[in-house]
């Protein structure tokens, strides 16, 4: 039960303002989700490099010599940029898997929030405005991003339970609603070897997409699959390396508003979230149809 925002820029001149615009959208959705907040931001990367966003509850200790330790372990140059409890490690793309494995032993307390050429995920418990300030989200530039404010329903209020959830390299998911068959799917997906860490229903939604795509489905096909396989109420917004997508369950009770101009495509749980966007007065504003997959890409 939550607020979702998403902003996909068509106009490059807006890219320096992505973080600022998304932060305003996110903070407006505080009433819908005061427990925790998170954002996935996509910013231009070097295709030869992979970014691992990591989080630690003991950030000072864990991050102190992390870049050097990891570099030595995987035999590659690793650079690190820290933001509060999160850090973004940049390393050669072909070493990303090695780095994941190395981190598990080097820093067992670290959580990997995301990996990919472009995506970075920041999330934490607390009011959205505090979370945004902690990571200085407003200063971030980028091509597109999605954000989430959470009102926890049945699982714990933790960083782990905050959205977005990473679903694969450069992919992430946020959710508003409540799934009613996530326990069965969690058991099935775990048997299939998909890693699921929390009791959160959305993480199961994310894991479901990962699993479908591992089995060869495109993201669009995986999203179509949610309409068949996931029960309950959901509006999902997903981010990919160069685009973002939206799908609502067939009942479509949870609110969703979209706006499109020549400069951007935007998503909000409520229209309120969109009012600060440039040119919103003249934007095409509509509600996504139930059981329909929408997708935009560069």
């Amino acid at each position: 039960m939550c607020g979702i925002v998403g902003l996909f820029l068509k106009d490059k001149s807006l890219e320096p303002r992505l973080g600022q615009l998304l932060t305003e959208m996110l903070v407006t959705m505080t009433d819908r989700g005061p427990d925790s907040a998170g954002i996935a931001i996509y910013r231009g990367g070097d295709a030869a490099l992979s970014k691992l966003t990591v989080q630690s509850d003991q950030a000072d200790a864990d991050f102190a010599t992390l870049a050097a330790d990891l570099g030595a372990e995987i035999g590659a140059d690793v650079s690190m940029r820290r933001a509060d409890s999160h850090a973004v490690l940049s390393l050669p793309a072909d070493k990303a898997q090695d780095a994941r494995a190395a981190l598990a032993t080097l820093r067992p307390g670290l959580r990997i929030m995301s990996d990919g050429a472009n995506v970075e995920i920041y999330k934490s418990v607390g009011l959205p405005k505090d979370v945004a300030a902690r990571f200085d989200l407003a200063a971030m530039s980028g091509t597109h991003g999605i954000g989430h404010t959470r009102m926890a329903t049945e699982s714990a209020v933790t960083t782990q339970g905050a959205h977005p959830f990473s679903t694969g390299s450069d992919q992430c998911l946020v959710h508003n609603g409540s799934l009613s068959n996530h326990n069965n799917w969690r058991r099935k997906l775990k048997r299939e070897g998909v890693r699921i860490e929390s009791q959160n229903d959305t993480e199961v939604g994310a894991a479901y997409l990962t699993w479908k795509m591992q089995k060869g489905a495109s993201l669009g096909e995986a999203l179509e699959g949610t309409l068949q396989d996931l029960d309950g109420f959901f509006t999902f917004v997903v981010g990919t390396k160069d685009g973002f997508g939206v799908v609502r369950d067939p009942i479509a009770c949870k609110p969703a508003v979209m706006a499109e101009t020549d400069q951007y495509v935007a998503f909000g749980s409520e229209y309120r979230a969109l009012v600060n966007l440039p040119g919103i007065e003249a934007a095409r504003v509509w509600e996504p149809e139930p059981a329909t997959v929408y997708f935009w890409s560069h």
Binding site: A252, E270, Y271, R272, V275, E281, W286, E287, E289, P290
Partner: protein, 227 residues
């Protein structure tokens, strides 16, 4: 014209001011500036005043309205004019889901499109939509008229009671117990009057009428699949 600016006036103060017009109706023209998608704007009014909301609103704009005319120059969020008793609400743009939900009287005009569940559980309200409406509209509609100049989505009029539905365009599908019915002269008259009141130029003859088959009115095992 009196102005209430939500950039400088709290929602509580704005609603309290408008609600107080019940007892002091000298000021009949009101303008609400900077709605910016805020919820519960101009709710619970009960005076023959005219309120213009300049911009777009959040949930439940003009909820439970009595007597007043509320005009939204932008779009309206979920549940606009929910449980309206009387008066008029006009939306220049689109309306989100639940427009006119459970409304008991008055007229709701939506110049753009209405999303899902338009007129859900309507109880006497008249709703005129110039564009299209979404799925599950008029679900359990009990009384009143829903006029749609465009198309209707899935499951129109599911579990309908005695609300009348008029659609000019296509209907994606009819809900359980909703059927097309004969358009008789008295229905054309009702429709003509509604279109005129809504200020919409359309020919009543181009509409089709839908209503309850009344098969679910008393339980019959032969209809069990429709429940």
């Amino acid at each position: 014209m009196q102005t209430l600016d939500l950039a400088t006036t709290s929602l509580r103060e704005m609603n309290a001011t408008l609600q107080a017009q019940k007892d002091q109706t000298n000021a009949t023209q009101w303008s609400i500036e900077n709605p910016r998608g805020a919820h519960a704007i101009a709710v619970g009014l009960d005076a023959p005043i005219e309120v213009t909301v300049r911009g777009s609103t959040g949930y439940y704009c003009a909820g439970m309205n009595k007597q007043a005319t509320v005009h939204v120059t932008g779009s309206a969020g979920p549940g606009v004019a929910e449980n309206m008793m009387s008066g008029t609400v006009i939306i220049e743009g689109d309306a989100s889901q639940y427009a006119g939900a459970t409304g008991r009287g008055g007229l709701l005009v939506i110049k753009g499109n209405a999303a899902s569940r338009c007129g859900i559980s309507m109880k006497g309200i008249d709703i005129v939509v110039q564009g299209n409406i979404g799925h599950m509209s008029a679900f359990m509609g009990q009384a009143g008229n829903l006029v749609v100049c465009g198309d209707a989505g899935d499951a129109l009029g599911d579990s309908l009671y005695e609300a009348r539905l008029f659609v000019r365009g296509s209907v994606k599908s009819l809900g359980a117990d909703c059927i097309e019915k004969e358009m008789r002269p008295e229905h054309l008259e009702i429709l003509r009057a509604l279109l005129e009141r809504a200020g919409i130029d359309a020919k009543p003859e181009e509409f089709r009428r839908y209503g309850s088959a009344r098969k679910l009115y008393n339980f019959d095992i032969d209809n069990a699949a429709a429940y």
